[in-house]
Each structure stands twice: as structure tokens, then as C-alpha cells.
């Protein structure tokens, strides 16, 4: 056991209940974070990860009220004795929502804000700002307005702003959840630099298991208590434990777990070496493509067709540049690309939220402009990324019925539709609840139900899995898959490569307002070099299976098609 002095954070029997909360969010939690280490906290939504972070610098109970019990020492200090503002010198905190933690008009002034608060003299300030910006790789963007930065840059700026105050401990609460893969990489490379080169203690809440492999320690939270604490590799190769705690196991150890080949490797290099004792079962792998073709035969007529569409933002930036696409009834399509590549702008054409500057949008063969809002919303349903932008009723069932009332349907037409929509998303038991008391995953399903009640043929989902934990994510994707099997056409925007690989049957890659690849998932992700051109990482399983002479889209497919070489 570590001595108290060696712990950056030491928490004993910590319990917390939010004011007006029914249950304790933290229950008797004890945890020691060794100084100079990098610890990643993982676990389901509602496991108490963010609550724990907010206790460390006094945000709980000073800004967020509730009953707090137990002992907390952050860098040897008791957060109960000090103001939150006073903690800024010792502990930097970075939140998930990067929009609302930046408020200045230039990058430089954003970093200056904390230094001004501490009363640092102007002459010293300049040097500290420059140093922080250099370490965050933002020196060149000094004069830019934070609102014009990319998501990854914004989050780096939030880190730089904390870094300028020279704290020894950094607490990052889901810093990469809302970022695209490139932004995630940017944030991880800076945090690991702060840990390795600057000797900072890093505490990070994270859903992405692959990135958590870089950490030194992992703490698994479950139901407000610590379920497991240990060296990252030890925790992450316990596949069953991870599944139980609602965390997605890392792909490589998971694959070898399925292959029954122990001890489990972690790195890609190890995996490649170990795969040399396996060979491909050709009968099974050719079956995969046969299966793909089989599904394609079931597609119906074109439901959405766009022809040479151009769209410019009011600022003059080209958002879509000569885009054509045809989607047939029954397809399951994923649109992939970096942030700003035009994905959301494209799908907003599909239900006439925006009209193209040039080109045609056809809904079931007819120009979409000729159709009324009522007609469009019963053919194409668009579920927005953030469910909180559309939920407004006090009860779940009322929110689901809202669109139907707008259409002027009678109560006896409305209630069966609401019932079946709630059943589809498995929320029947919560129909009388206030939507705002539900978890993010449940609210996301309310939003889907509200659209489903309209019985649209096409369902468009903009990043439906962002911010969900692994179990919620699986549930959401199973729901979407079921809807597809029942005949709904699915168009999904996502940043999660493995989600696209595992569920979608067709993939469209976008880059700078153009479609650069469009085809079967296995072909686009597996054989074309377009994935890299689009600036996104190919799924790990695709890269590994390509070395074995085929394309597997999921860990299960990969494990199924491999067999041990007979000696």
C-alpha cells in the first residue's frame, strides 16, 4: 500500500448524494492515485466517475450541492477547507463540453484569464502563456477566436488554460467524448506528454478503451464504488470483468480471448506475431461476402436521391461540392468523415432542413421542395445528435405523441403508435417519467421513439452513440439494426469506426464536402485506400484481417474465420 505522501489523490469512504437525488451516486468509495501516474477511470454512465472528479477540487459541495461524507485529500489538501478558485493553482480540470468552458475572444486571452485571476504580473504572464500554448501545440493560433477552432483544438486550449497555472494534477472528465478521431488523438498525445515529460499526475475519465491502454493504472467504477483498481494491462485483459462493468474490452485482447490463445497480447505488433500460428478458413471467409450479397438483394426502390448538390455556408465556405447519392429502401448506410467534412449538412438536405444552392434532392422520385412538412416528416425522420435539443414535454409518452398531435391524428390513432414506438425502444416502463430524470442513453431512445412514432421509412441518426457507455451503445445499435430488419432505411453519421464496420452495410466516406468513396462496407473499409485519404483510421480488425488475406468487420467475424495451424 502506498503512503499518504505518495498519493496525489487519496479518498476514503466517500459518499455523495445530489440535492434532490434519490440515491447516493458515490457509495463508500476509497481510492488512492499515486503521484506522477496516469490513471483512467472507466465504467458505465452513472457509475459516479464525474461526481468523483468534482469532489477533488471542491466543486462538490461548493457549487454542486448535496450530502458529502468521507475523507478527501487532493495533493495533501482538504478541498472542504478551500475555495474552488484557490485549487486552480494545484489542480486543473477539463470538462467534456468544450464549448462552454471557453469564453474569451482570442486564444491568448483565454489562457491569460486564469493568470489574471491569480494576480500574476503582466511581464511574467506573457512568458507563461507562450509556454502553455507551445506545450499544447497552439502557438500559431494565438490570435484566433476560440469559436473558430476545431473541437480538438478547443479541448487543447482548455488544457493549455489550466496548464498555464502550473498545477501538478490534471483531471480530465471525458475530454474526448465529443471529438472526432483526430481530435481524440490530439488530446491523448498532449495528456501523455504532460504525464511523461512534465511529470504531472493525470486523472482521466474515458470511454475509449483503446486509448486507455496508454495509461498506467485503470480504476473501474461500478454503482458508485470502486470495482477494480490495477495496472492498465492487468485490468484490461480481464475481458469478463470489463463486460460486467459495462466497458468495451480492447479489441486485440478480446480477439485472442475469443481465439482462446493466452496470455493475451496488447499491441498490434504482438498480435501480428501471434497471428502467424493461425490460418484462414477459406470456406468461412468466402461465406462473409456471400452473406453481404444476399442482403443486398432485398433492397427496394430509391427513397432518397440527390444529384450534383452544392451548398455554401453563409460565410462562403463550401460545405458540399457536387455531391450525388442514391439510397434505396432497406439500406443501412453509414456516413464517415472528419468533423467539417459535410456529413451533417448532407443529411439535412434529406428532410429539407436546408435547400441546395445547385442540384436536386428527390424524395421517392419527386423534388423534395414540392412536399409539405407533414409529408416529409412521415417519410424521413432525423434524430439529432443531442436529444436535449428536441425533448420538451414533462412525460416521456407526451413527447413521443407530440408529432402525432401536430399531424392532427385522433387519440385512438395516437395511442397505438406511441405504444409501439415505446416498445421498440424498450421504454414502456418509463412512459410516465419526466424525460429529464433519465440517463443520456434513455433520453437518446426517447428521441428515437418520438421520430419512430411518425413511422418514417427512412431514419437518419446523427452520431447516435456519442456519449453513451458500452451497454447503452450496444442497446442503441441493436435497436437500429432491428428497425432496419423491419424495413426501415437507416442512414447513420458516426465517428466510431467499429460501429460502422460492425453494423452498416454500405459506407459513404466524405472529405471536404465531397464523397470520396461509396460502396459496400467490406469493400470501402477493407480494400480501398480511401479511408486514410478521408483522414480517418481504418478499424483495427480490418487492418489485422487484411494481413490474413480477408476482411473481417468485427472481432467475432475475425475469430470465427481463423483456425490454429495444424503442425
Amino acid at each position: 500500500m502506498l503512503k499518504a505522501m505518495d498519493s496525489a489523490v487519496s479518498v476514503k469512504n466517500l459518499s455523495f448524494r445530489y440535492k434532490h437525488g434519490r440515491e447516493k451516486v458515490l457509495k463508500d468509495l476509497s481510492l488512492e492515485v499515486p503521484s506522477g501516474s496516469m490513471l483512467v477511470i472507466m465504467g458505465r454512465s452513472g457509475a459516479g466517475k464525474s461526481t468523483f472528479c468534482a469532489c477533488l477540487n471542491g466543486l462538490i459541495p461548493q457549487l454542486i450541492k448535496g450530502d458529502l461524507e468521507g475523507e478527501i485529500r487532493t495533493l495533501g489538501l482538504n478541498p472542504r477547507d478551500r475555495k474552488v478558485a484557490d485549487f486552480a493553482r494545484f489542480m486543473g480540470i477539463v470538462f467534456q463540453d468544450f464549448e462552454s468552458q471557453l469564453f474569451s475572444t482570442t486564444v491568448e486571452l483565454e489562457v491569460a484569464f486564469g493568470l489574471e485571476n491569480l494576480g500574476v504580473p503582466r511581464t511574467e504572464m506573457k512568458a507563461r502563456i507562450e509556454e502553455a500554448l507551445r506545450k499544447a501545440g497552439l502557438s500559431k493560433l494565438k490570435g484566433r477566436a476560440p469559436s473558430t477552432l476545431s473541437g480538438g483544438q478547443k479541448q487543447r486550449l482548455a488544457i493549455a488554460s489550466a496548464l498555464a497555472l502550473n498545477p501538478t494534477l490534471f483531471c480530465l472528465d471525458e475530454p474526448t467524448t465529443d471529438l472526432d478521431p483526430q481530435g481524440k488523438d490530439e488530446v491523448f498525445s498532449i495528456t501523455s506528454e504532460l504525464w511523461k515529460n512534465e511529470g504531472k499526475t493525470i486523472l482521466m475519465v474515458e470511454h475509449e478503451t483503446e486509448e486507455a491502454l496508454q495509461a498506467e493504472y485503470i480504476a473501474l467504477f461500478q454503482g458508485g464504488a470502486l470495482k477494480e483498481f490495477g495496472r492498465a494491462q492487468e485490468v484490461l485483459n480481464n475481458i469478463d470483468l470489463l463486460k460486467e462493468a459495462g466497458v468495451r474490452p480492447p479489441e486485440i485482447p478480446h480477439l485472442f480471448h475469443l481465439l482462446g490463445d493466452y496470455p493475451l497480447p496488447f499491441t498490434k505488433e504482438d498480435a501480428i506475431r501471434r497471428l502467424s500460428s493461425f490460418e484462414l478458413d477459406k470456406d468461412l471467409s468466402s461465406g462473409l461476402e456471400e452473406n453481404d450479397r444476399e442482403k443486398e438483394r432485398g433492397y427496394g426502390n430509391e427513397v432518397i436521391g440527390i444529384e450534383s448538390v452544392h451548398y455554401d455556408y453563409p460565410t462562403g465556405v463550401k460545405a458540399l461540392n457536387n455531391v450525388s447519392l442514391s439510397v434505396r429502401q432497406g439500406e443501412f448506410l453509414a456516413i464517415l468523415g472528419q468533423n467539417g467534412s459535410g456529413k451533417t449538412t448532407l443529411v439535412k438536405h434529406f428532410n429539407n432542413l436546408i435547400s441546395p444552392r445547385h442540384g436536386k434532392v428527390l424524395l421517392k422520385g419527386e423534388p423534395i421542395q414540392r412536399k409539405s412538412i407533414e409529408e416529409i416528416c412521415q417519410t424521413v425522420g432525423l434524430v439529432f445528435q443531442n436529444p436535449d435539443h428536441q425533448i420538451f414535454c414533462e412525460r416521456v409518452e407526451e413527447d413521443v405523441a407530440f408529432s402525432l398531435r401536430l399531424l392532427g391524428l385522433s387519440p385512438h390513432e395516437i395511442s397505438p403508435r406511441v405504444d409501439s414506438a415505446l416498445k421498440a425502444v424498450d421504454l414502456e416502463s418509463l412512459r410516465h417519467e419526466d424525460p429529464f430524470s433519465l440517463t443520456k442513453g434513455q433520453r437518446q431512445r426517447v428521441a428515437v421513439a418520438a421520430i419512430l412514432a411518425l413511422r418514417p421509412e427512412v431514419l437518419i441518426l446523427d452520431e447516435p452513440t456519442t456519449g453513451l457507455d458500452y451497454l447503452e451503445l450496444q442497446r442503441m445499435m441493436e435497436l437500429i439494426q432491428q428497425l432496419n430488419e423491419q424495413g426501415h432505411t437507416i442512414i447513420m453519421i458516426t465517428h466510431s469506426m467499429w460501429v460502422a464496420a460492425e453494423y452498416a452495410r454500405r459506407v459513404v466516406l466524405m472529405k471536404e464536402g465531397r464523397i470520396i468513396a461509396d460502396g459496400k462496407t467490406r469493400e470501402v473499409l477493407g480494400t480501398s485506400g480511401k479511408v486514410k485519404e478521408a483522414g480517418i483510421k481504418p478499424p483495427l480488425m480490418v487492418a489485422l484481417s487484411n494481413r490474413m488475406g480477408f476482411t473481417a468487420l468485427s472481432i467475432e467475424e475475425m475469430a470465427r474465420c481463423l483456425k490454429r495451424k495444424s503442425i
Binding site: I93, S100, M125, T315, L353
Partner: protein, 250 residues
Amino acid sequence: MNVFLYQDKDTFFHRLDPRTKIFILLFSFFLTIFFKHPLFLTGVALFMLIHGYLSQCIANILRVKFPILLIALFSIITWGLSVKGTTPIWGRFSEESLRYGLAVALKLDSMIIAGIVFLSTTRNEEISSGVIRLGIPYKVSFSLSLALRMIPTLIETATTVIEAQRSRGLDLRSKNIFTRMKRSIPLLAPIFLTTIRTTNQLAMALEARGFGLSKERTSYQEIRFKGRDYGVFVILLIVALLIGFILLRG
């Protein structure tokens, strides 16, 4: 989409001390209140437009051209109808009532343009450090600049919420104003709740960066009157004297 008004340019007016810019704004307001005749007020409005042109922010003024025109029309019609005049022109409109309506229109629009030019040339932080130097407490001035900071966020949230509800079949284009008001309820709740959440987040981020910690807060921006600031004051003084002179003569 950039919804901020501030234009990052390097004009004479951008380089002025924020206190001078605040003074120019107040002086502009004074001019619009002081004059009554549409002819003089047209002069004042032109003065504002020249100020806008020299500060390279005509594009920002054009962004609000519809509200500006609407306000003008609205005041000409309402005042034209309601003020009693002695020289009738058409129906209830008289020469006096139209002149009054036109004057009010020019006053309001000039004030809007002056405000836009001010916000286009002055950063939030400058406004806030400017008013601090004029003796306003830091927390008050910071709240002011935060409020300005929240406007674009609010507009963005509102845009997304409108799109989300339109996707659910909510048609806001109704001729009946009461129907439209009723239909905007599904918009207000999400906008309101999202904004509260953002504000809470912001409050936590501020505290976590030491907000309100030290009594001797320092400032990264240097604020100092320079030659050009004194120049502006001299010019404004001459303008004021000229106006006084004209008024005494006529």
C-alpha cells in the same frame, strides 16, 4: 457559422483605447437624442455610416439590414398614424406626423448602427477592462462581457432546436401570430434548459480557473491613452462646439 460581431481588423478605430470607444458610443447616442429634425438626423446617421465604413464593419451593418428597415417602417407608420398634425397629407398622415416618425426611425437606426460599430471594433475583454478603468467593479463588468459571450451560443442553440423540432413536423410558418406563439413552446423549453446547463458548466469552468480568487487581479491587456485617443477627444469637442454654434445662430 460566425455569429460574433467583433471584426478582427486593424483600423484606426480598432486601435483606440476602449474608454475612447465607449466615449464615442455615448457621444453618438447623445447626438441622436439631441437632434429633433430629420434633416440633422440624416446627417447623424451618415456620420455613423462613415464611422462604420472607416472601421471596416459595413458588412456587419448589412447583416441587420432587415431589422433596421423594419424598425424604420414600423416607426414611420405608427408615429405617422398616431401623432396629430396640422398639415394633412393622406388619411391620418400629416406632414408633422410623418416628420416625427421619420425622426424616430433615424434616431433608433442610428443608435443601432452606433452599437454595431462599437461591438465590431471592441473585443469583449476590452469593453470589460474599459469599464473597469471607468470605475465599474470587475465582477459587474465581467458579467457584462459574459452576457455578450452568451448571445452567439444562444443563437446557435436556438437554430439547432428549431431544426430538430422542424424534423418532427413542427411548422413555424403560420400566418396567425397566436398559432405561431403556441407553436414556439416546444422551442423555448429545450433552449432554456440547454442554456441553463451551459451556464452551469461555464460557472464551474470559471471557478476552476481561479475566478474571484485574488483581490489584486492583474490584466494582460494594456490600456493606455495614446495620441490618437486625445485626437479623437479634440475632434469630438470641435464637433460639439460646432453644433452649439449652429444652434445659437439658428
